[in-house]
Amino acid sequence: MLILECPYCGVKAEETELAAGGEAHLKRYGPGSSDDEFHDYLFMRENPKGVHFERWRHANGCGKWFHAARCTMTLEVFGTYPAQTTEPPQEICDKITAKRPGWSWREFSDGRKSSAA
């Protein structure tokens, strides 16, 4: 069972207390964007086998949205962090790098490959 610590109330909440909210840090595209950008924003989602960043809501708790970094292959949780950010904090990235050297997710990575991504 998946257990995430809510970064707001500090509760270690299990799956039934939480609602999954899909991919984190989406860039929103609206009027004036190209068809490709709009298509990808609406329908394309990261679906990695490994490191993934997601939005979650502490639905049956404090009710607040937050972010989580997780491995989709092992259900290992690397960390959770507040929603008021557009990219994963360095501290979380470092934690992932310690466990999954060479990881990358969208434009984010362990730093060594960032120019390639």
């Binding site: 394309m44 997601e54 292959m73 259900l75």
Partner: protein
């Protein structure tokens, strides 16, 4: 291939069953094939079978990283039905259902197709309207379904409680020729027929890279060495995103876990399949007597092929009001599979941005029932570049806004 028949059984009985051959060969891969199919599940094997049977293409390899039929083909609840609302879905699922009718004879392999009938219960006013609409649509599409009253539901399913306080049974959508089949036998039957046509089924061989030159697929790299091919078919369900990335394109889908379970075996008590979509559960009784129970998917990306305990509780709880006897059943086994879900809950059977590379995925929570139809259509698409059954299921439909919106039409449990 020696044919299976009553005479074969008698002959083998007289010589202590020493003469049975292996159902399919396990050869080492050749360097080149006309067609390589990645994924030896039901859909992949069916694709290969119809490539051979309908189009005479038999220089085919089917590559599987695990064991044959060990993914979602071996992890579903074996329900077969075609009562979909949208025309393109009804067409391909009905094609599949009709192929199931004669599959045992076609393959000379008993897939135990049991057209015992499928009821989808209406337990809210909205469902009544929804299912009546589906019944009308099905009439136009040539799919045999009908709207039935609660009394008829009770006749068909004596163990049901019609007058639950929260979710009374208000009627149902009844497909008499829907039912179940033995899921492993479907994979094994296709595998045996493919092997007999000279196709190579290569298990425990993982694809590690897709080789693309000048926008064309030229082959795959595998753990058993490189294999060249003229055409490549990706039929790998939950792993489709991973494989597509190797070929350099993206798919509009996400992989999530779907779970099911069986109870201890009990005496025959329900000889139809019942789906209760409002409360999120569906149930049938296997030939062994186990109640086969399925629920809904998780809401988050997952590749673990594991289940979770709270889902057992959630699914069984959902069924207890409608089937009070379930409360006294012990659950025996539970498992999870990784399903590939698209934005409109309909599959993708499509050409891709890479030439000569085809993809068949996105069957989500309802792939087993579609196996023969999906293979038939995918084979036609791969052999001729065009299939009337797959036209609407292109991966470009999202860009064009031409969704096949079955997430609404079929409720939740596909």
């Amino acid at each position: 291939m020696k044919r299976y028949s009553v005479f074969a059984v008698a002959r083998e009985a007289l010589r202590y069953h020493t003469g049975w051959e292996r159902a399919w060969r396990s050869p080492e891969p050749k360097r080149h094939y006309d067609v390589v199919i990645v994924g030896a599940g039901g859909h992949g094997l069916a694709t290969a079978y119809y490539l051979g049977k309908n189009f005479g293409i038999t220089n085919v390899a089917i590559i599987e990283k695990g064991w044959l039929g060990g993914g979602n083909t071996g992890r579903n609840t074996t329900i077969i039905r075609s009562n979909y609302l949208q025309d393109p879905s009804a067409a391909i699922y009905e094609k599949a259902r009709s192929l199931y009718e004669t599959m045992s004879q076609d393959l000379n392999y008993n897939v135990m197709f049991s057209p015992r009938g499928v009821i989808m219960l209406a337990q809210t006013e909205h469902e009544i309207r929804g299912y009546k609409r589906t019944a009308h649509a099905n009439q136009q599409q040539g799919v045999q379904t009908e709207w039935i009253t609660p009394e008829r539901v009770k006749e068909l399913v004596p163990i049901i409680n019609l007058h639950g306080p929260r979710y009374p049974v208000l009627g149902g959508l009844w497909q008499e020729r829907g039912g179940t089949a033995r899921h492993d036998a479907v994979a094994w039957g296709y595998a045996r027929a493919c092997s007999d046509m000279g196709m190579d089924i290569i298990q425990k061989c993982e694809v590690t890279g897709v080789r693309v030159e000048n926008g064309r697929t030229v082959g795959v790299d595998t753990t058993k060495g490189p294999i060249d091919c003229d055409k490549l078919g990706m039929v790998v369900a939950g792993n489709a995103s991973v494989l597509a990335e190797q070929a350099g394109f993206r798919l509009p889908m996400e992989s999530v876990a779907l779970q099911a379970m069986v109870s201890e075996p009990i005496k025959p008590c329900m000889d139809v399949v019942v789906m209760a979509n409002t409360v999120h559960g569906y149930m049938s009784q296997s030939d062994k007597g186990e109640m086969v129970i399925g629920g809904g998917t998780d809401g988050f990306n997952n590749y673990t092929q594991r289940g979770s305990f709270h889902h057992i509780e959630e699914t069984v709880r959902a069924l207890v009001e409608t089937f009070p006897m379930v409360s006294r059943l012990k659950m025996l086994r539970q498992w999870g599979g990784i399903v590939d879900v698209t934005g409109d809950r309909s599959p993708i059977i499509s050409k891709t941005p890479v030439e000569n590379c085809f993809v068949n995925c996105g069957w989500g929570t309802g792939g087993f029932k579609a196996i023969p139809g999906s293979g038939w259509a995918m084979a036609e698409l791969m052999a001729t570049g065009h299939s009337p059954l797959t036209e609407e299921f292109s991966m470009m439909r999202f860009r064009e806004g031409k969704f096949i919106d079955e997430s609404v039409a079929a409720g939740v449990a596909h």
